[in-house]
Structures are given as C-alpha cells and as structure tokens.
Symmetry: C2
C-alpha cells in the first residue's frame, strides 16, 4: 500500500520554501530585482534516486535533488538528506550508496520514490523495479535505470536540517543506449529529469545550445 | 584581451573526465549496462557563475557546475572549486560569494567566464556586464543576470582536486520577469543553462513533464 501521508523529500523541501519568511524588499542598483529572502531557489537541480540497504538488508531508494558532483579527483558526488529519512540511517550504517539517474520514462517512479518512506513500504516491490546488488559497494542499484553511480561513503557533513553525504565514485554504469560517440553518457539520449525549486512539475532536457564559444576570427593557429 | 590559453574550469573538468582510466568492464545482472569506470558522469549539472572580490577589491566571476543546494534550514548552497582558481583565494579571504544563474541569453558570457582567469583579465570589463556590490555580503553580483543568490561562507571541505565551499544563503534576488504566479522563480521563464559532463555543449530546459503523481482514483478524501 502506498503511504502518501509520509513526508516526501521533495515536497518537504518545497513546503519549507513556501513557509520561509520573505525578507525586506531590496532593489538592485538600477535594476528591477526583487528580494525573495533566504530561500533555496537556485536552479536547475538534478533528480537522483539514492539506493541503499537498510539494517535488515532490504534494498531501498529515495529521490533527492540537493545533490551534485563535488570533486573531480577523486571523483565524488554529494547528496544532502534529512536525518528523518530512512535512507539517512541506512547510509550511516552501510557506508555506501548508489546514485540512480532516471530518464523521463521513469518520471512516475522518481516521484513515487520521493513520496513514501522505506520504513513503511518496499519501494522496489511497489514499483516493480529490480534491485541489483553492487559488486563494488554495499548498496543496491536500479537495474532498469540508464545511469548508475556506485559510491562508498567518504564523509558526512552536518549542516542543519540536512546532512551532506559525500561519496567517492567507485564506478559508473550506463546503458549502451545512452552512450554518445565518445563513450560518455549523452544527455540528449539519457533525457534526465530536472527539479526546479518553487515549481510543482518536473522538467526535461531541452535543446543543445552549443558551446557558447565565439567562432574563431582568424584561420591558422 | 581574452586569454583563452588559461585553463577553463569546465574544460579542465571535461579533460579530467577524458583522461581518467577506464575500469574493467562489468555487466549488470541481466542488463546491457556498461562499466565506465570512476568518472564524474552524473547528470544534469547546473551552470552557475560565482561572484567574489579579490584581495584588491576587484569584482570577479567564474563559471562552475560542481554545485547544488545542500541544506534547507538554514538555506545553503555548495560550490566546489579547484585551488588553482583565482576565485578560490578570493572566497577564502572575503568569506562570501554570490551564485549568479544565467538564462539562455547569457550562454556566451557563461562560457567565457569559465574559459579565462580573473588573474589575467577583468571579466566584467571584457563582457560588458555590471558588478553590483551586495549590501548583505562581501561579494559582487551580476546586475544583468535574472537570479542571484547572496551567500556568506559557512564552511569549506577539502576533498582533493576540489574544495567544497558551503555558503549560507542570505538573500535571493530575482528579476520580476522570471517570477511565477506563486512568487518563486519559474524555471520556464528563467531558462537556466544545463551542463552535462561528457557533452561539449550546453543545454536548455525542456518541457514541463508534470508532477509524476498518479491521478487520484477516488474523489473525496
């Protein structure tokens, strides 16, 4: 049974945004800028599904958007989670997690994984998706998702409502169908989801805009 | 004079990706997943322009994509920078920075800000954009950009090639033209840029995909 009264990670974030007090208005010099107060309004945010095992070894997943790549050498990602989440305790104990990147076709699953707690339901069973035990870290990944990043927990940073989990990337696995000519995942094939704080809906990836580099004015070197 | 030989933050990230060794192949159980090794291939990533003052008080900006919201209470953002960047030293000294979110129309400026160092050029002067001194934190923001987040440095975390700068959000300022009906920035109006590791081009925001929630099967509560 799907337990929709459980606070969803994304919905909690959005309700916090909505409840935050508005700071006094301030206008930028000469501009029409409006002060919105101290809110989490940076955009765009990713939609990543975090995989972990609970203490009983049950695979669980939750959706998070306060997340990013945070280091190139060693390759690392960071995901911020509230202590109240079931995943928080699981990663603290297992010292590992996976980042599963949904494509647009998994929109419904991504929203569902952020709307219920693994304390109450078996999200793999409910969604029909398949947990695969990583051979590299103590965490499950979602077989059907096109891009998976396997991480061992490197560090945690307590910030307030959220705790930052910093994971060292041990391997990236991708469906051959989303790889580009250079062998890296091609965002236009992957079609990842985008979360935008303050917006109720998810968004897709748009058109390529080019590199932003000016064409060279001179030929030769 | 634009100094394109200076290493660009994004290009360095991409070249690191390209240079990293490929791990031994591994196939997910029953799937057609390809192991790509330990690489920074999570997607999508934001394109944020980080504003700071150098020791002489000169306003500077650089483009970064290893960045995210990282806490809701207090509202915080994290941006990872290499020690080699000019901005690294500036934020360490000034203890403040701004996150300036470019819309698609500022693609060229965002790419430029990631391709040269503030050590070598005055990026505001070269781009023609206008620095505004924040009245709340010791950092400049870009007057022409539609969304600005002013941050005081809360913490730094040394990870390796990158250092994580964690900033507490003091205020968010947005152009009235990008605000939605609820008063928050509307991603469809803002049109932020997207960076996708492994892809040479920037991308725009695509269509709204809805909330991913199933329609209710029953009326009433």
């Amino acid at each position: 049974m799907r337990n929709f009264h459980t606070a969803a990670a994304l919905l909690v974030c959005m309700s916090i945004i909505a409840a935050a007090p508005i700071a006094a208005g301030e206008t930028a010099a000469g501009g029409a800028m409006k002060s919105l107060g101290a809110k989490t309004f940076a955009q765009p945010c990713p939609v990543w599904v975090i995989g972990s095992y609970d203490a009983a070894g049950k695979p669980n997943v939750m959706t998070a958007s306060w997340a990013a790549i945070c280091c190139s050498q060693p390759p690392m990602v960071t995901v911020s989670l509230r202590k109240a989440t079931y995943t928080y305790g699981s990663i603290m104990a297992s010292k590992a997690f996976t980042v599963n990147v949904p494509s647009e076709e998994f929109l419904k699953e991504a929203a569902y994984f952020g709307s219920v707690s693994g304390r109450d339901v078996d999200k793999f069973k409910e969604s029909g998706l398949t947990p695969v035990k990583s051979s590299l870290v103590n965490a499950p990944y979602i077989k059907e998702f096109p891009l998976v990043i396997e991480c061992k927990l490197a560090r945690t940073v307590e910030l307030g409502l959220h705790t930052m989990f910093i994971g060292e990337i041990v391997d990236v696995k991708a469906a051959e169908s989303v790889l580009g000519a250079g062998g890296a995942p091609d965002v236009a094939k992957l079609k990842p989801l985008i979360f935008a704080p303050g917006n109720a809906d998810y968004y897709g990836i748009g058109a390529s805009l080019g590199s932003g580099k000016e064409p060279k004015k001179e030929t030769g070197k």
